[in-house]
């Protein structure tokens, strides 16, 4: 059974293997499959400047195997749209405490016909709602927009599409709402909350029972 795990700097120690898998899959998918050669690295891991303590990862994990993932990052910090793609935004770049940037979204090849996609999208809405986020910004290939819209996402364009790596891409903001969450949950076959948050026992509480690693 696939579950979506929330990984932040607080519990990252529990997911070293999952994060490594995520980096390797990103290389396989974005560099080798999609051809974003700028991100290529000889160690086969795709890691960028935004993989730091501010990043939140929502990873789909099935029996220890990462089958999909995505990253959320604060827009108040320099982020991908402000650093790399400001020319995709016609007006102001949305930057606020309740706006996150949504990047590195993928589903592994063999899961693309199933519901992993909708589960990851539901996880994104669920995490953001729980954390008081009002919208996420993203750069996306144009042909994905109808897919988001059909899963019940409300998408606001931030500029006109432009060609990136041979594909028309657009910067867009996706509204976070219970309506969107409900809609995508139905498509994902979910009846309620689905995020898994493992909390690392804090070493400062000696009373906590030991957990076998």
């Amino acid at each position: 059974m696939t579950h979506i795990h929330v990984i932040t700097s607080d519990n990252r120690g529990l997911y070293e293997d999952g994060i490594q898998q995520f980096y390797r899959l990103r290389h396989q998918i974005f560099v080798e499959e999609r051809g974003w050669t700028d991100l290529s690295h000889s160690n086969g891991l795709e890691i960028d400047a935004y993989d730091n303590e501010h990043a939140v990862y929502l990873l789909a994990i099935d029996a220890g195997r990462v089958v999909g993932g995505q990253r959320l990052y604060p827009t108040l910090l320099p982020h991908m749209i402000s650093d790399v793609f400001p020319h995709l935004v016609q007006r102001n770049i949305p930057q606020a405490a309740d706006v996150l940037e949504w990047t590195r979204y993928f589903v592994v090849k063999e899961r693309r016909t199933g519901r992993t996609d909708c589960r990851l999208l539901a996880a994104m809405q669920e995490y953001c709602l729980e954390n008081g986020i009002s919208e996420v910004t993203a750069v996306v290939e144009m042909w994905w927009l109808p897919r988001w819209q059909q899963t019940g996402f409300k998408v606001r364009p931030l500029g006109l599409p432009q060609i990136i790596e041979g594909q028309p891409c657009i910067a867009a903001a996706v509204e976070i709402s219970t309506a969107s969450l409900e809609h995508v949950r139905k498509l994902a076959g979910l009846r309620g909350p689905s995020l898994i948050r493992h909390v690392r026992p804090s070493p400062s509480h000696p009373g906590m029972p030991h957990v076998a690693a």
Partner: protein, 245 residues
């Protein structure tokens, strides 16, 4: 006209804003007709792409087509030979009609549909394929005789067409009950064996998976088909031609 790319962006954003405020299909069509006319477009159609068992007229969502052309197109079943439709199924990028390839000698019917369209002032066109979820395929195709298609107008048209499609889809909601992609191959298989009278345990043995997994596929198919039990799911899947008896 001396439009800068900023003007086109504003044009596109305003169009999207206006679409959102409109709630009736005729109003949306008027807005589309007005806005796309600025680029020289006289006709447009928003349609799903029919599977082998569907007729063209069953999947059309919206159309502003010349009188007479729709009847000819439907009667001749041109949707099966139209090179624009063919390219639509095979690309995710928008394209000009002139970019849709066909062999004039070996595909006389493809040549015929393109030639006859010009009789209705549908000489050049711009087409946006839509590849949605659950296998839903559609397109927004628009045409005219004197189009303003350039590297500066196309990004705006691309975005406007996508939002026009989405508004039409929301208002007309064509998604439920269609598309073979609604069910996964495993869900279809599980239902096919159920239709053949097999229990979940039998089906599990046949497919080499556990009974529990078979049941999970059936439950999932029931949810997607909004069926209350396996019997109704089988009936609906057959009715929608997702499985064959």
């Amino acid at each position: 006209m001396s439009h800068s790319s900023f003007d086109y962006a504003t044009e596109a954003f305003d169009f999207i804003g206006r679409l959102e405020a409109l709630s009736s299909v005729p109003d949306v069509m008027d807005e589309m007709a007005k806005s796309f006319a600025l680029f020289g477009f006289e006709n447009f159609i928003i349609t799903g792409l029919p599977n082998l068992k569907e007729r063209f007229d069953q999947v059309v969502l919206l159309k502003k087509w010349p009188l007479g052309w729709f009847d000819i197109y439907a009667k001749e079943d041109y949707v099966r030979v139209d090179p624009v439709i063919r390219l639509c199924r095979n690309t995710v990028q928008p394209f000009e009609w002139s970019e849709a390839p066909f062999d004039r000698d070996r595909e006389p019917r493809a040549a015929e549909v393109m030639d006859r369209a010009t009789d209705f002032r549908m000489r050049d066109g711009f087409c946006l394929p839509i590849h949605g979820i659950n296998g839903y395929e559609a397109c927004f195709s628009m045409s005219g005789v004197d189009l303003d298609l350039s590297s500066r107008t196309k990004p705006a048209l691309h975005l406007m067409a996508m939002y026009a499609f989405e508004r039409a889809r929301q208002l007309l909601n064509p998604l439920p009950c269609r598309g073979a992609g609604l069910l996964t191959p495993r869900e279809r298989e599980a239902l096919m064996w159920a239709a053949a009278g097999k229990s979940a345990a039998d089906t599990g043995d046949i497919l080499g998976i556990t009974e529990r997994t078979v049941t999970a596929h059936i439950v999932s198919a029931c949810q997607k088909l909004e069926a209350t039990n396996k019997t109704q799911a089988v009936a609906r899947a057959m009715q929608y031609k997702l499985i064959q008896a």
